[in-house]
Symmetry: C2
Subunit: 407 residues, 2 copies
């Protein structure tokens, strides 16, 4: 299996065009706030949505438009999440779709919509309507970067990615753009990811592949434990790579899932790394555990702990906090013989053996923890599963971004 991550984005697969412009939803004219993604050919499509009971209007409209598992375009705005906006909000989201549909002669139900930004404020569609011509004029097979920029909020870098691989000898491509847990006053973090591919695959298997890989990528990151009302991951496949249709869980399907998993985990890590105020990526792998489910709860408990996150920010080899976080995870496990290691590009150090302190070089620990990507390895010695989750450190800037709305 040969899976190559390449520079690129949503327009890397055949037949996809995208654009990103400033429409006037954000006040700053230098910031793009409206993106459009289209496929020359109608796509099979699937989506995964936030588990928050409060759901944004665009999410409800997208879910509805995906009932037939078909889509040809996605319109996304940043600067306003169109959430807690009632009937008016649903009309605004539906209008965004119909504006695209009318301009491009698509069916409104084949256009999906996503929004991120302030909630509880009505979204004015006028600037979107007024910008439709230029949004469509800008559509380009080189539009990846522009569209990825237009969906950013407090993200510090745009997130795009593509992967090339082969399915039974045919070269195929996956592309994606995402935005991370960035927040706009007065609002909440949102995670969005849009994936494109020219792979020929049935709607049912596209849906299955998406759900299975989302569960072990985006669903294994945490920035601050808050789950947004607008989180959404959508995948579109137009089949233009002309590979033999994948409609059973054959070898090609497994390769596709592997590539999609790589894509989603890479994006998820980019999102975790770019968490609000974050200076470091934290990766926690719980290994030799009896089940994936238990491993995930343990790992998530570690990467979500404010005390662990603060310790990593301070480059402090505080394994006691890791053990403490494992101890309050809601699972029934024996912690009496676990080992804990810290690891980075500078090396690996064992800090705890059989749940007891070991003597270690404070100097080496410091050197390891001063790196920007920190791994916390927990060996449970009680099974054969291994689970990794990702998070980021807790910093002054997180508080600044989310606490001081004047900043």
């Amino acid at each position: 299996m040969n899976i190559n991550i390449i520079e690129g984005g949503v327009t890397s697969p055949k037949g996809f065009l995208s654009s990103g412009i400033h429409a006037g939803i954000k006040k700053d004219k230098n910031k793009k706030d409206l993106a459009l993604l289209v496929s020359e050919k109608i796509c099979n499509a699937a989506g995964v949505y936030t588990k928050n009971k409060v759901k944004g209007a665009p999410l409800l409209v997208t879910k509805d438009h995906l009932i037939d598992n078909k889509a040809q375009a996605v319109i996304i705005n940043s600067g306003n999440a169109n959430t807690c906006t009632g009937e008016k909000g649903l009309i605004a989201a539906e209008t965004m779709c119909s504006l695209v549909a009318n301009s491009l002669n698509y069916k409104t139900e084949d256009v999906l919509v996503a929004s991120t930004g302030v909630i509880g404020v009505q979204l004015n569609v006028k600037p979107i309507e007024d910008s439709m011509t230029s949004l469509i004029d800008e559509l380009s097979p080189e539009g990846s970067l522009s569209s990825a920029e237009a969906i950013m909020t407090t993200d510090t870098f745009s997130k795009s990615l593509a992967i090339k691989f082969e399915l039974s000898g045919k070269e195929v491509t996956l592309g994606a753009m995402a935005k991370g847990s960035g927040m706009i006053h007065p609002n909440m973090a949102t995670m969005l990811s849009f994936i494109t591919t020219d792979v020929n695959i049935s709607p049912a298997l596209l849906d299955k592949a998406l759900k299975d890989t989302v569960n072990i990528s985006y669903n294994r990151i945490s920035v601050d434990g808050d789950t947004s009302t607008n989180d959404m991951v959508v995948i579109l496949s137009n089949g233009l790579a002309e590979n033999t249709l994948i409609d059973t869980e054959n070898e090609d399907y497994l390769v596709f899932v592997e590539a999609l998993k790589t894509l989603n985990i890479t994006l998820a890590k980019m999102i975790a790394k770019d968490g609000e105020g974050a200076t470091k990526l934290i990766e926690c792998t719980v290994s030799n555990i009896s089940s994936e489910e238990i491993g995930e709860k343990l790992s998530k408990s570690v990467i979500s702990s404010s005390l662990v996150k603060s310790a990593i920010f301070g480059s402090d080899a505080n394994w006691g906090r890791v053990l403490c976080a494992l101890g309050y995870a809601d699972v029934d496990v024996d912690l009496s013989n676990i080992d804990i290691f810290f690891e980075s590009a500078k090396g690996t150090i064992k800090v705890c053996e059989n749940a007891f302190p070991v003597n270690f070089s404070e100097e080496l620990a410091k050197e390891i923890l001063l790196e920007k990507e920190i791994k916390i390895l927990v060996d449970m010695k009680s099974g054969s599963h291994s689970v990794t989750c990702w998070g980021c450190d807790l910093t002054y800037d997180y508080v600044k971004i989310n606490g001081d709305y004047r900043s």
Copy 2:
């Protein structure tokens, strides 16, 4: 029912003495680190312990010594939590008890022990042994403040309290000292609370009253979502008030529970308010909800949300984050017709009605939120229960205390 909170502490009830000294566990000689609490008469006693699977050695010893529901003394050190210290740690904790027992001619099993501070480092009992004479010499009915100071870690103020009330005409007293979620490098937050009373009550009802009131006080606060390995609440009753023994759930029992509840909630709020780096107490009341259990999950989700905590730090009327936190609480409730209010000494303001924004004065909201005690009121309109939980804001100083170990 006449329940009066008075100045005082663990020695306010009849027959209790306490002391607090610097023994040398903390490096700073100006900081007390060893406390002793004794009763002239053997007490009925009960305890509640951390739910963390990793439990400190003192906790295991205390639990063991409380099997007969009797105790006469509690020795507590700060500066070292004596956790993850194995067999040696258990011996150290047991030794602390026997040192007190030998000096005072008590049985070792009648002495309880608690520790708070760094974990994973062996506790040296030598300084404790060397200080035993002066610790006992200092025992005094005016020792409340000294002992409360000796159990502090990063707490910014000592926490003591007493309550006077009557049981069938007899004046009785409850006293207590607690420490909050303060952390010592390289370690974790710990909550400790020691309650004394001269009330005459059976061990079974003392235990029941303690558990019932702990569940709606200490168990409803959160500073950072991390549950320590050493949390402990202990109550001692020596019966010296000579009220008629409470051995059924009669009127006197109900009054006692009400007083104990008031004591525990007041202390819990003090702990939340003094959360690491905190500048504000946050109180979230979820009212008109179908059950206590659901209300508690909703309220805890709000006070635990990093985004809500940051918003309150910034005095930002960000009800969207409150709604968001309610939305991801793990309960099945209808959020479509809820109202949200912010309240403080400056007034009350409705910010959300039926889950939609209402127009409100940003100026008044700011004035309300600039106060030090902020209430978030959530009206669920779907039942008759009401639950309150307490937390604190998330500030630069939380990150400083927990992230920068040089500070």
